[in-house]
Subunit: 407 residues, 4 copies
């Protein structure tokens, strides 16, 4: 019969504003455990952080272990310090059952009595330790014998706290609704983009074909020409539709200055793919003069990196599209790892979730979609870091481009 188990934990930070103190308590109760506040020093003013010491009592050692691991995400750690426990992976892609599953927050592990920052932070990974180094690794990339952090000892997570006074970001992110004035959001997003560039950061744009369907291609192109886009992460469809539009003036067979969809066929779509196939690649299509405008054209012309990931629904695909998804994920992750400070996610739930999974929590995300459910879903995965805007993405890009090209 299990006997109750206890541990004293501590945490520091903007515990109130972030809602973390409340979340900690919820989690304790949810796991049928109890807490007693040993000490809580609240920040007296807006600038001061709070500090918490709390005694947990769980119904069993196993539950306590679960609880402690789950509380790491809020910055909680045992008062009692000890090194992280590591166990060798029993085979490729397979680790011990009590492996520590990472969050997207900055994490340190204690190795040989030293706190070491984990590299390549991302969520749903494990931490592999080698010597005095530690890094996030996807399960599939773990090799037999590698040392993997297990349990909850010696792990400290430093969550990003929602900062109350950074109104530009914090206040926008509170809710998702189509009943908002988009122009106000555009002003703030433009300011954020300028600030990122001023600070030497990079901006990634994740975009779906709806950007083209809604007439956003020319405005997206204008952002690229203005130097506001450093990397484009998309699928085959964005590129095909963009090139179809550049070659034929249509998107999915719809004339963008007019009309109706065409159920039967997407010949222009196929023509675009054929044309790129003939040239050999998108870059070559630009070089030989076949492709003369559009998002992909501007990427080539302005040396903007792009990664096109394949999917089960792809026509073609274009020769540039990576149909090996392991490679595509790796290429996405590498591109994001190169000092990307801000990601704009435009009407592509699939690629946006993919990117969201790869990002550490300190990269800002702006998510734009006309479907509030998509924005909610993306925001829920990282509510502290994500601003959601529910609007028409074509018109949004139009206004953003106007704002950024103004002065």
């Amino acid at each position: 019969m299990p006997v109750p188990a206890s541990e004293t934990i501590e945490a520091q930070g903007h515990l109130i504003d972030s809602g973390y103190l409340s979340a900690i308590m919820d989690k304790v109760i949810e796991l049928n455990s109890n807490y007693e506040i040993v000490r809580f020093d609240i920040g007296r003013t807006n600038d001061e952080v709070s500090s918490l010491e709390m005694r947990l009592t769980a119904p069993s050692d196993a539950v306590l272990a679960d609880l402690l691991q789950e509380l790491t995400v809020f910055g909680c750690h045992a008062v009692r310090e000890s090194d992280a426990i590591t166990r060798p992976a029993e085979k490729d892609r397979c680790v011990a059952d009590d492996f520590y599953s990472t969050t997207n927050h900055r994490t340190h592990v204690r190795l040989g009595a030293q706190w070491v920052e984990v590299q390549h932070q991302r969520m749903d990974a494990v931490i592999v330790v080698a010597g005095n180094k530690a890094e996030c690794r996807k399960l599939r990339d773990v090799r037999a014998g590698e040392m993997v952090v297990c349990g909850h000892d010696g792990i400290r997570v430093t969550p990003e706290f929602r900062e109350r006074d950074r109104l530009g970001f914090a206040f926008m992110s509170n809710d998702v609704s189509s009943e908002r004035r988009v122009e106000a959001s555009v002003v703030r997003i433009a300011a954020m983009m300028r600030e990122v560039k001023r600070n030497g950061g990079r901006i990634a744009v994740v975009a779906g074909p709806v950007v083209v369907h809604t007439g956003g291609a020319e405005h997206f192109s204008s952002l690229i020409r203005g130097g506001y886009v450093d990397v484009v992460l998309a699928g085959n469809a964005l590129a095909v539709h963009d090139i179809e539009y550049a070659l034929s003036g249509t998107s999915l067979g719809i004339d963008l200055t007019a009309g109706a969809p065409v159920e039967q066929g997407h010949r222009n779509h196929m023509v675009a793919i054929n044309a790129v196939n003939r040239a050999g690649s998108i870059r070559r299509a630009v070089e030989v003069g076949v492709l003369r405008s559009g998002v992909m054209y501007e990427c080539v012309k302005h040396d903007v990196e792009y990664v096109l990931a394949g999917s089960i629904r792809d026509d073609g695909p274009l020769p540039d599209t990576l149909m090996d998804l392991v490679e595509a994920q790796d290429r996405y992750a590498e591109a994001l790892d190169k000092n990307v400070h801000l990601v704009l996610m435009l009407s592509s739930m699939l690629h946006s979730i993919g990117v969201g999974n790869m990002l550490p929590s300190w990269v800002r995300v702006v998510c734009v979609d006309i479907n509030p459910a998509v924005v909610t879903k993306l925001s829920d995965r990282g509510s502290m870091q994500t601003v959601g805007v529910v609007t028409d993405v074509g018109l949004f890009l139009h206004h953003l481009a106007m704002r950024l090209s103004a002065q």
Copy 2:
């Protein structure tokens, strides 16, 4: 035991392009009846109409009667001519069971061997005959003893046919999707509005408070100043939010240049109502200088008629709001009856359905909403006459106002 019954009907018009020929056949089969095409002369070119003669056989007289009545909407009528049958209303608001229920299409009834056009055409009404006059009447307005058209004899409906060559309208109306380039729709809608004004027609705008929340109030105001709005049909909420914005710069407590919603209270909202109550009416609030901007202000300044209908959710209401819905419906209907050629429906399903119920089928409707289900629902009620645009209504108004003020 019922015996089969037959009748020969005819119809004329763009029966193919409108999809009516197909719909006629569907309806016959749906009512377990059969048809035989006696004659079908197809228009040889795009300009010529088609002409149909069809023999129907139904399983019983009752079904045949139903079928004939249901087919009137497609312009079908018995070859054999006879006067309309009328029966006196047995009491106020109550008519004989076989009453003819109107469509929104132009309708003639045969009285004393003369075809007479029915006045005040609208759907879901009955036709009351007095002397050689006939008019649509809502059930609630029928008085005991009035003569009401029953059955299907002597009734001819002339449906509006979707005209193939009027691309500006017809081609836009085919589908509802958020994946469209709104700028293309704006160009056409602006052209349509100019044409209506040039021809001396009036334009009605049905608008919900989302117009204000999304920042559309100033652009809507610009349309009014430009002379593109002749009547505003709305609810209490549009006016309250518009006035709240004019007085406080907020909409539902949200600062439109910034931030977050405020769950607890809508004090600014109440302040706006209180201010109008103090003045006595919206018009008085303008006259005494309390209200100096916004949609309602412009309506007063430019003598644009407005009708505000109350609802169960209303705060206040403003003194101008009609809380007697019978009166509100009558005032809406009167306003629409005065030569309105075009109705713009902006983010208000409730009032849009209300207006849609009152309109004859030859009034054009443009329906704008960010929720595709709303646009679909409104379009389904009159697909021939309605153009649907799925987009952010604030940005839509911005672009429409820019387009209309250009040149």
Copy 3:
């Protein structure tokens, strides 16, 4: 030039779990003011409440007054006690500019050094004082000379705190998503309904016509027969569609065991209205045997109160429908005031918002709609009291009726 102004406030309760402490801080910063925590005693265990004392400094007296009023919703009040300030209404429907705008939380005002509970609590009202009594009053019902509470002195609000351990409710209410297992929600809602009835409380159901379209009428009827419905608050459309279905087997002209919508006409709909008009009322239609099944039939048979509010989109309306919306709002409010503990809102945004506006915060609300945006919108208006379920309302009612009839 304004000079800074200060005040010390206090609050007590589950300030952490409810998120109120964080919200208080946000509000202070939002109004360009500062706070200093004088004292914060955190509840040491889950059962203990927290207690806060905080010194506020605002840039001016006016801002301080606003801030204090806005903070009342979180249970904050000045440490310094004083009587509420009242001012006479200057005319009917019009009060002094600094009137106190109510929340839906339990409120006390201090009159003659006594704290008095405000009656008929609802939001967006003012508080009228007469002798040692105080009650919420809608602006439109205020008469010249009545004494109205102004400012923020002598007002104490006791918010409902989200209670952490009442998992059945609290944990359901955290998010709105269509990606949930509805059966789990049904189990809890059924338990909640049984508990309400066991405790002698009443259950109100707000329902739109979609209940009928989706096949929910028979299951709703079963809830009524089971004694789980005490009052039905709806519009004309619910009753008309329900009666249409009872008389003709169709809903909006759609055969519920089969097929397609019928654009042109809603004859069965009109027939239903005509039939009730002939009988004189819904009750009479039941008594004379014209109406023999459905939601309205069961209401009459089981003496369930129903209030049908008119709207601008109504056909008919039925003789029972209240087309005077002032009367309809009053009748809704009265019905809710009679010991209603739980409100089920089924697919009717309009009536649900109307009801939500009338409810004090201690009445539980369950909101069911297939559109997540509707559920979010209703939940946002009272997130502590509302459980949202995104699902097909017809199937939901089927499962709820099965669950409640089991055992």
Copy 4:
């Protein structure tokens, strides 16, 4: 300067009911061309087909060629017979610019004066001819020198016509709305599934993880046990969530009998992947007794083929997931090619579009999603063959399983 060009075409079939005659006329006008009806014999009764002969005049040869190709989808072909034109692919993946782009309808090409049926019909492919055989080929699979059909000569498409009397299917497919009684649809879909099995056809199910989140896994399992599922086409996520649920009782960290989502972590999710990795494959996990219930378990136990396609958002992935999307597409297509008569698409837009692209038009499709926009999008791609149901997919599966297990 281009000179006008003419051609006479003919078509046969249910041209009215299918709306094709109208669509043909629209297309001619859209391409700035004219038509003259030479002959139109309308089917006199419901069973007879119509027959059309029409003379087209286009502004140039090029436009005429386009027009003729676009009209093939409606079954139109030149009266004048000639062999199909073929041209060699100039290089791998690249064909002549006037290549014929396929539809999903049954197609014949004329080779050596013989009409030959094209194999592996699918849309957005080209037709490769070898000897007297012809087959659809995706562009990426075309090899240099292969003979590809170009232009529009010698091509005959036989569209599936919506059959008026097959009410079970045709009448359901007319509209997409959440306001329908799902139980009626379930009855028909169950009947369709039984009929397919009776006729020896196979049923494929495309499913997303929402099936698991909404509690549908056990009901889906019941369909498999009942023999109603022959192949499952899904992504990594369905399998991971299903296995997570089988192992831990949660889906995405949500306890399906209770509660709230957990932002930080999806440890159970990772545990499921780790467990399958340890076993080596899903099948092995079943064999060694690690996996004992759920959709994947039943697939293994009942030898139901499954293909899991990778995507950019995948965690893991499971060893069974195909991360090479070319292979995944080929495996999907092969599975569908094996006598699949019916496809059920459940809450997975990505995989459903992928499958839709591969299907010939004579395979029936039922698409179920709670988001009407998804159902509309999928239906628009093949409106004749697709029935859309807007509802909660978990409850839908519950009802479908009940219906199918009932006698």
